[in-house]
């Protein structure tokens, strides 16, 4: 049996605005986070990620539903009695305390012995690779250093779960990339469950064991990074994570458990049958990634759709083609510029066949 460290049972959160207006920050949601995993809440600004995190930390109470941490109901358990610690987006370091005292804060509150405080604080500062700055004030640190102090301050308490609210948001791109890898390695080293909030899909894909994609107060899909990318179930997820083509097709027949025969324009193609609740005659949307499409002459590919090339963009490693299919819809195709130089083989206006492998297309529910 998997051990769920955090569980949301039908949890929702509404904010009451001053004007009496109600904001549904989180619609009733189910969520199970397993012990030891790197779990990411991914979604655009305002979708309710911070709300979900603050519900876990106990800064706010759910309007309805139950939150369990390590099997215990957390209704009315204040933040200071929960086995979780948070890394804030603006770090929230105490300006009146130096680095050592910032990290020691939690231990001092718990009246830990001085010798142990000193040992554990230095240990966690070593883990986050910040040594020799113990006497500095937060105002004398760089953004990256503040970030490390905030991490150490949370880790030193050995929480069951570490909550991180866009912790890399304030860093420049290069430092951010480096910190992503470091954070992931750190999580594996300490073995603590991480719940990570970000609106950066690339960050989510590289770091997470599982991702929950959110939109407008709803959790749309919870899956591994690979499945979020390869098997998005909704148009929103397919669109938010990476670039995707959406093609409209009509279902001809379904070979249950195997494949679906689909008409796109005048072409008949197959798509792997993975989606429930579709029937012959339905009009559906199919998602295919640009790099999973290929261009070829007639008859060279298994699943093929007629198309006309309408735009060619040279991108260095790749060439991006924009093609128009007979239904009028457009699709992007990314072809790697490797081996034989294919850039010169097509011109705008050429008639081609769009091809893909059966498993690379995905029928969306909505």
């Amino acid at each position: 049996m998997v051990n769920n460290i955090i569980e949301f049972e039908n949890v929702s959160k509404q904010y009451r605005e001053k004007a009496g207006e109600i904001v549904n920050a989180l619609n009733p949601s189910e969520l199970s986070i397993q012990a030891g995993e790197f779990f990411t809440l991914l979604g655009p600004s305002g979708c309710g990620k911070t709300t979900a995190l603050r519900l876990m930390a106990g800064f706010i109470q759910p309007t309805a539903g139950n939150i369990k941490i390590d099997g215990l109901a957390m209704n009315n358990v204040p933040p200071y009695r929960r086995p979780v610690n948070m890394v804030f987006q603006d770090y929230a370091l105490f300006p009146h305390l130096n680095v050592f005292e910032n990290v020691a804060f939690g231990l001092r509150i718990k009246r830990t012995q001085a010798a142990e405080i000193s040992r554990r604080v230095n240990e966690s500062l070593e883990i986050v690779q910040l040594v020799g700055l113990n006497n500095r004030r937060p105002s004398q640190l760089s953004g990256g250093q503040k970030q490390r102090v905030a991490l150490a301050r949370a880790l030193v308490n050995q929480p069951a779960v570490l909550l991180l609210d866009e912790p890399l948001g304030a860093l420049d791109l290069k430092l951010r990339r480096a910190m992503q890898l470091e954070l992931k390695a750190l999580q594996q080293q300490v073995g603590i469950t991480f719940v990570y909030v970000t609106h950066d899909q690339e960050e989510a894909l590289t770091m997470s064991d599982r991702i929950a994609v959110m939109s407008a107060g709803r959790i749309l899909q919870i899956d591994s990074p690979q499945n979020i990318y390869e098997r998005p179930t909704t148009r929103f997820v397919a669109d938010f994570v990476g670039e995707t083509n959406f093609l409209t097709g009509k279902i001809k027949n379904i070979v249950t458990g195997d494949y679906v025969k689909l008409a796109i324009g005048n072409d008949l193609v197959d798509v792997r049958h993975r989606t429930n609740g579709i029937h012959p005659g339905d009009t559906v949307t199919v998602a295919i990634r640009p790099e999973r499409l290929s261009l070829a002459a007639d008859g060279q590919q298994v699943e093929q759709i007629s198309a006309t090339i309408s735009e060619i963009t040279y991108l260095g490693t790749d060439t991006r083609y924009l093609v128009t299919i007979p239904t009028g819809e457009k699709a992007a195709v990314r072809v790697q510029n490797a081996g034989m130089n294919r850039t010169s083989s097509y011109r705008i206006g050429d008639q081609v066949k769009l091809g893909y492998v059966l498993d690379d297309a995905q029928i969306l529910v909505s």
Partner: protein, 270 residues
């Protein structure tokens, strides 16, 4: 920063301003060392006589002691009340927040002579109390509260509520958080509020004179001295000392306030 050229009209303006503001103070201090009972030019010579007499002026020193006691106790109470009110206003959901703030600021705009009459009626007619220093202290608390609320509030509004949440997240309960995070970070503002309240109380004349019983405060006593011209130079000496101390207090309060503000602003820049 734009480099500013010194212009003649600007310099003149500055000089006129300074003379206008500080000439009276300067005259007072100069005359406190003048060897004559009559406060007029020309100077007769330098003397420390008035300061010596001051040391022997029992009633005057008593009034000064009263003022200090009233000042310290009313400022402590006003700072405490102001700080709690500021926490309530900035950190908690408070119904009728704006009404509360407006109501608390009334003593700031109400003429103190009117307040004094109101107090006198309240103390003597409504409650039938003997006028004493405690009542003066209470009245001074009332007029100091608006400034203490505003000073502490500005500070609390300045630093992120996240800091308090971070403390709670790290295991501190409400009171621990107040003690270990909110208070230390607000300390400069608390001291500034205290000093401001103290100067308010120490200066107060119009209202205080109306509710003074047998025990009098310094400004009230000094005013009564004006009836005895021979003792005037002693009052001037006392005035000079007060002026210098007040200036030090005000400058300290202002420094503390800006230190606090700068620190928070630096913190918020990531």
């Amino acid at each position: 920063m734009i480099e500013q050229k010194r212009s003649l009209p600007g310099t003149l303006y500055f000089i006129v301003m300074m003379v206008f503001l500080y000439l009276p103070v300067l005259v007072l201090i100069v005359f406190s060392f003048n060897n004559s009972v009559i406060l007029a030019f020309p100077f007769k010579g330098f003397t420390l006589e008035w300061y010596k007499q001051l040391l022997g002026a029992r009633e005057l020193l008593l009034a000064a002691r009263n003022s200090i006691i009233v000042g310290i106790s009313s400022s402590l109470v006003a700072t405490l009340i102001g700080a709690l009110a500021a926490v309530a206003v900035t950190r908690h959901h408070m119904p009728a927040r704006n009404f509360f703030l407006g109501a608390a600021s009334v003593p700031l705009v109400m003429p103190s002579i009117v307040l004094g009459v109101a107090m006198l009626v309240l103390f003597r007619r409504v409650f039938d109390l003997q006028l004493n220093l405690w009542l003066i202290t209470a009245a001074h608390v009332l007029i100091s509260i608006p400034s203490t609320i505003l000073i502490v509030m500005a500070r609390l509004a300045d630093f992120s509520h996240n800091l308090e949440e971070a403390a709670m997240d790290l295991g501190a309960n409400y009171w621990m958080t107040l003690l270990k995070v909110t208070l230390p970070i607000s300390l400069p503002a608390l001291i500034a509020a205290f000093l401001t309240a103290f100067t308010t109380s120490f200066d107060e004349y119009a209202m205080t004179t109306l509710i003074t019983g047998t025990d009098t405060t310094l400004p009230v006593y000094l005013y009564s001295l004006l009836r005895f011209p021979r003792r005037l130079p002693v009052a001037v000496a006392m005035g000079s000392i007060i002026m210098v101390i007040s200036a030090i207090l005000v400058i300290t309060a202002e420094k503390l306030r800006s230190i606090g503000t700068n620190r928070v602003q630096k913190e918020n820049k990531i």
